[in-house]
Subunit: 442 residues, 2 copies
């Protein structure tokens, strides 16, 4: 369990919304609870880089005033949210976790932030991102690592590590994140909360600093999948499609993707079996070699696009990068263009190959991350007696869904060694309600 | 003038079609004329790599039989055509001008060849391509250089050099080519004929060996623009749009693109003035720096995509490449992926910037090539007292229209030093009829 509950631990957005509408609490009260909890607990967590007490209280007062005059904006009205420090929020610093943007203040809201505000949500602050969102560990940022509320010596995961830690610690009930290879789902799983990235482009990425444009998704982190859905309905550009009949769910054997911790895989599978199927889960498999094709395609496209974003900064002020990040970017900048061209072609073939996975099923279930949270700064870890590289392990079961642009949800699936593990559910674009339906099966 | 006229010199496809329909000639007679002329003249020109006498005569007999029974397929019915050796033609060798494909025989027709045959055209053979279409000079091919009929010591231009030489020498009235940076228009201009590449994708490239997929276009070469239009109508996937009112034509000052031979530029401009405008041509300019942006964007995207096509062959059998080509491919294979990503982004900006060129005009006029045909294998040439690199000069006014995917036509515009020069006309996609209308003004 997290070290201690926060003001929003165990409170769903639906229940907060009811309390707000029925006068049992106010938006100002919720913001004050969030601010007090952040002041008390965040020094040990590093979830927030910027807290906007004045702005949040002012927005909360407006939300309360509207509620008082009968203007109701929906279930996010008056609800405090955290926003990853990769999104532009007008008037607030946007550092991207980097010294390159020290002192930079955004002058407009990202499209997704505009939508949150329009829905009545109250932005309390910016959450820690791994530097430039380029890392799934969440422990390299100009403002320090975000830490796992279940054990602050362990990583939160990343890159939306601050958003995950803030929600997991109960400091806010909802946070925005981005997910290029798993950056919403990995920290959500490692911190024991729910995280959702929709299909590519389903939430606008306008006003969000890019990592790798082909794979960048905006997503949400919350205590459970229903809160993710509720937030997604406010953020999505398109209507969600309702499907008839029960969702057909299959277990995707993850062994082709990564040779992870068998205790994690077994624990997640047991939860999947008990939650999703009364009479056993059907199983589907990736053909041999597909895991490697996904990794190569992801790595090449992501690396070249990330290098293109940063190459001018690498030339002009390399010393402002974290050394690990700079080394990774330099390696990325050396990948030849023909490999990028080949990867883009491979991606089209992978999309076709993956379509067959959904021929007989609506939803695929697999672990989100096949290990538990490593220690901060740890780059190799022991799994089942083997030494395993942390970064590839963290990304191994999430990044392929970015290559395919498919909606993917992680929900808590118990613990291993007292640390949370996540069950990941994946569907085709437009069928997101299937995921939430499947996650809610019991 | 070409050294001597061939059987199709000065005969338009429209006149051939009339002669065929009215019984003044037969398809077999036309094929026999083509075959005899090829046998006599092609040893000095190198326009053809494969001549299919039996297949052509059989197809011509079928065409005559259909005409005899009143089946008329349209203006190409019974007309002999040459097909660049980059297109698959069922049963015929397809070498791509390379020793890598020595002995390779295609088993199906390219989509564009299917359309030509459906229109009744008779394929007489395959024409020389610069090796793998990777060069605008037309003088490096496993089967030898194609030569300029106006002076066989000079290059035809390329990469569709054989198609241009065959039409210019009157060996066939029509030929298929491909154009990735100017490979239809450059040899057409240097050989004194018409050449047309439509908008990107307007003619299917299915069954055509790729050079750089983002820029590869299928096009046609013929004696004049009306024959190009006639062939294009048979090959295009979509209906052509008719516009009302006269085409508004502007001269595009080419100085931002290349500092070419002023005598060529002046000659082309004089023809444009006299053909296109009774009261002076309006002039438009590219903003400073745009020429360099187009070159960088073209070079990076084309190089990376070409390297991706050939990288396996470069590793397995480098000795089968022409040495110049191998060196160019090796340089191309070293371009980093981030530059490709940046070039793809730059291309979108260039498309926007170029849209303003067409705000007040339907058609832009400029030289096709700002020099006359250099000697075979010449890689530097003297222009106006300066030493100029041949390849960049040849591509300088054509490749930007591949970056933009715009329709572009070249028509003969007289001679300089007894060598042909071409007037290039460019329009927006879907407005191709404007080009042909403008070219036909007098």
């Amino acid at each position: 369990m997290p070290l201690s509950p926060g003001p929003f631990t165990g409170r769903t957005i639906t229940s907060l919304a009811q309390d707000l509408r029925e006068g049992r609490t106010t938006a100002v009260e919720l913001v004050e609870q969030a601010l007090a909890a952040i002041a008390e607990r965040d020094p040990a967590l590093g979830a927030f880089v910027t807290v906007d007490a004045d702005g949040a209280l002012a927005a909360a007062r407006r939300a309360d005033a509207e509620l008082g005059t009968g203007t109701y904006r929906g279930p996010l009205h008056g609800v405090p949210v955290g926003v990853k420090d990769l999104f532009m929020v007008a008037g607030l610093p946007a550092t991207m976790g980097s010294r390159h943007f020290a002192g930079y203040v955004a002058d407009t809201d990202a499209e997704s932030v505009t939508r949150l505000r329009r829905a009545g949500a109250v932005v309390v602050g910016k959450t820690t991102t791994h530097e430039f969102a380029y890392g799934p560990t969440g422990d390299r940022s100009a403002n320090g690592a975000s830490r796992n509320p279940w054990d602050p010596e362990r990583m939160s995961g990343g890159s939306s590590g601050g958003s995950a830690a803030a929600v997991a610690a109960g400091l806010v009930p909802l946070a925005l994140g981005t997910d290029t290879g798993g950056s919403v789902r990995i920290p959500a799983a490692l911190c024991g909360i729910a995280g959702f990235k929709p299909g590519y482009g389903a939430i606008s990425a306008e006003g969000v600093f890019p990592l790798a444009r082909s794979f960048d998704h905006v997503g949400v982190l919350a205590g459970d999948e229903q809160d993710c859905l509720l937030a997604y309905r406010c953020l999505a550009s398109a209507q969600l499609r309702e499907d008839a009949g029960p969702a057909r769910v299959a277990w995707l054997d993850p062994s082709e993707l990564f040779d992870g911790d068998p205790r994690v895989v077994d624990a997640v599978r047991a939860v999947a079996e008990s939650r999703l199927a009364r009479s056993g889960l059907e199983e589907v498999r990736l053909r041999a070699g597909l895991g490697e094709e996904f990794r190569e395609t992801y790595t090449v496209i992501q690396s070249c696009e990330a290098a293109a974003v940063h190459v001018a900064r690498m030339a002009q002020a390399p010393e402002l990068f974290d050394p690990e990040l700079l080394e990774r970017l330099r390696t990325a900048a050396e990948i030849p263009g023909w490999r990028y061209v080949a990867a883009v072609a491979a991606r089209s073939r992978l999309v076709e190959a993956a379509a067959t996975l959904f021929e007989r099923h609506d939803v695929l279930a697999l672990p989100t991350v096949p290990i538990t949270a490593p220690l901060l700064q740890q780059r190799e870890t022991q799994v089942d007696g083997r030494t395993v590289a942390v970064r590839p392990a963290l990304l191994s079961m999430t990044s392929l869904w970015n290559v395919l642009g498919l909606p993917a949800l992680t929900v808590p699936a118990g613990t291993v060694d007292g640390l949370p593990v996540g069950l990941q559910l994946v569907c085709r674009p437009g069928r997101e309600l299937r995921l939430f339906e499947a996650a809610g099966m019991a």
